[in-house]
């Protein structure tokens, strides 16, 4: 097994190799540390590499294993986190210049749980500043510069979990933790060709994570296989006295074949390769599930409702920053002024958005209830080019229906699976959304899909 093969192995495989003592956690940690140093900057993927902490945790994992203690299937497996999670003693920058020197003296609950499982924290990974809350409109929206997909450096790695997407795709970490408020796990997963799992709202504690929108923030894994995303999610999920929204709920998979429908009109205006890859994916899914029928996304003002809620919550979350005037230090021109727009949000609009959300929530759940999953292309295009405003490219796809925002409003889970390649050799994604708390059902379908395809095993040529 070469170093490159190891670097691109999924976390489940790495955990098994460590357990069998075919490689030590320290050896694997050193391999990833060297890859993070070598390739991380080229893809704008890394903020801080935690050399000392990683080696200390790796040595502890190896020592425990030598004593016969294997804490979990992730024992000794190195990983990275989006730089919005507090890690004691290390900078936690939220991707933004005003917070560049911010240091917390505790670990986020997610990091604590991974530590308890024996996993090894390698690095804080890059992100769009403030997770994109202020309305950025270009890839260059972080003090670390634009995130770049390992499949083609001229294109964006997606946001706002840019670093987790790129680092997993480039084999710089065993897996990564990202966050999603509205697309921030799904988008980088699709643009980087990795598997991302957005949990049900409340599945994972957010203690120690930057808040952007309390009523929609979720933490979840980006990894090299669907089985990894399930393994990581099981490790980090559950109630937490430090976060009242976090709950312990069972992971259930129904007996028999899953039932999947397609969201009607979800390929309208999509790039031809996205459509072709999606149709091929449905044919593969038919091997593992009953695929048939279309469901219509209820006609609601998802963007307006989400926008009003985000504006109000984000302005409150970053009120200190806005009132300090330090928004001017942000990278993206839109972000430098976006907070002021949000600060002026009308209370009546915010409350009406909450009222609309209740109706949307009910409608989305009724739509999905007869099925185990609904399928659509994760995005209508491949990754956006670096250096151009988002609203100036792929203009023919604007105005497409947006199941991702609808699903985030309803707090339901989703998985994005690599399903092929399109323009410029860039990856495309298949998205499945499911009923509340049905992540294991989604990963079960994902595992079936990936047992019949090889897109998740492809490796980019790194520069």
């Amino acid at each position: 097994v070469t170093g490159k093969d190891l670097a691109f192995s999924d976390a489940t495989t790495l955990g098994t190799l460590i357990a069998k003592k075919q490689i030590s956690s320290l050896e694997l940690t050193n391999l990833y540390l060297s890859r993070l140093e070598r390739y991380g900057p080229a893809y704008g993927a890394v903020v801080t590499i935690l050399h000392d902490r990683a080696r200390t945790e790796a040595r502890a994992a190896d020592a425990a294993l030598a004593r016969g203690t294997r804490k979990s299937a992730l024992h000794g497996v190195p990983y990275g986190v989006k730089d919005l999670l507090a890690a004691a003693g290390a900078p936690t920058t939220w991707g933004a210049q005003p917070y560049r020197n911010q240091v917390f003296d505790y670990d986020a609950t997610v990091i604590e749980r991974l530590y308890s499982a024996g996993a090894v924290l390698l690095a804080k990974l890059s992100m769009v500043e403030l997770a994109g809350g202020f309305g950025y409109n270009e890839a260059d929206a972080s003090f670390t510069g634009p995130g770049r997909t390992p499949w083609n450096r001229n294109y964006w790695s997606g946001g706002s979990s840019s670093g987790p997407g790129a680092a997993v795709a480039a084999g710089l970490v065993g897996f990564a933790i990202g966050s999603e408020t509205d697309g921030s796990i799904m988008v980088p997963s699709a643009f980087c060709g990795v598997t991302g799992l957005r949990p049900t709202y409340g599945r994972v504690s957010r203690y120690g994570a930057m808040a952007l929108m309390w009523s929609s923030d979720k933490l979840g894994p980006l990894a090299r296989s669907a089985r990894d995303t399930e393994l990581v999610l099981r490790t980090i999920s559950g109630a937490d006295p430090m976060d009242d929204s976090a709950k312990t709920r069972p992971f259930k998979v129904k007996r028999g074949r899953a039932r999947i429908a397609v969201i009607a009109r979800s390929t309208e205006k999509s790039q031809p390769a996205v459509v072709a890859n999606f149709e091929s994916s449905l044919a593969v899914l038919a091997d593992v599930a009953d695929v048939g029928g279309q469901v219509k996304l209820p006609e609601e003002d998802y963007g307006g409702v989400f926008g009003a809620l985000l504006n109000g919550e984000c302005a409150a979350a970053f009120r200190d920053l806005i009132e300090s005037g330090r928004s001017r230090e942000l990278r993206s021109p839109e972000d430098r002024i976006g907070g002021y727009e949000q600060y002026a949000t009308l209370a009546v609009d915010f409350v009406d958005a909450m009222r609309q959300r209740r109706k949307i929530d009910r409608a989305i759940r009724e739509m999905i209830a007869p099925y185990d999953a609904l399928a659509f292309p994760t995005l209508p295009t491949v990754a956006y080019p670096v250096g151009l405003p988002f609203d100036k490219v792929y203009t023919s796809t604007q105005g497409v229906i947006d199941p991702t925002t609808a699903a985030n409003l309803a707090g339901i889970p989703a998985i994005s699976l690599p399903n092929g390649f399109g323009e410029h050799g860039l990856p495309t994604g298949l998205c499945l959304i499911g009923n509340p708390w049905s992540e294991a059902q989604l990963t079960s379908i994902g595992k079936g899909y990936q047992s019949r395809t090889t897109f998740h095993l492809r490796r980019p040529s790194l520069v």
Binding site: V128, G133, G135, Y136, N137, G158, G159, S160, T181, D182, G183, S184, V187, T200, Y201, G202, W214, S215, S216, K247, D301, G303, G304, V305, F306, G307, A308, L310, I322, E323, G325, R328, E334, R336, I337, G338, Y340, E341, Y343, A344, T345, L346, V348, D349, V351, D352, A353, R355, Q356, R358, K359, D361, F390, D391, Q398, G399, T405, G411, P436, W437
Partner: protein, 105 residues
């Protein structure tokens, strides 16, 4: 990631009428003749002017905001208000908000 929201607001900005003003005017005309208060309200600044005033007030936080930035903030605020007016559509008096978002079983 929020650029979809910007697209929505961009679309709202393209709309030529203020839904707030239209709905107020039509409601009043159906009920009774304009009162003194309504007549006074007609002399208040337009929503665009009000948005600009509000945008200007942000200089208390950042005095370095340029006129161009103030114009962009005003445009965004005006767009948010227009988009916000649509949020009331379809709601009746008894429709509850979801003040604490939570996923049930």
């Amino acid at each position: 990631m929020t650029h979809n929201r910007r697209r929505f607001l961009g679309g709202a900005l393209a709309a030529s009428t203020s839904l707030v003003m239209v709905s107020v005017a039509s409601a009043v005309s159906e009920v009774e003749p304009p009162t003194k208060d309504v007549a006074e309200a007609a002399t208040l600044p337009s929503p665009n002017a009000a948005a600009h005033e509000l945008a200007l007030s942000m200089r208390r936080f950042d005095p370095t905001l340029t006129d161009k930035q103030i114009g962009e903030i005003a445009k965004s605020i005006g767009g948010s208000w227009k988009a916000g007016a649509k949020l009331h559509k379809g709601l009746s008096n008894g429709d509850l908000p979801s003040p604490e978002f939570e996923i049930g079983e």
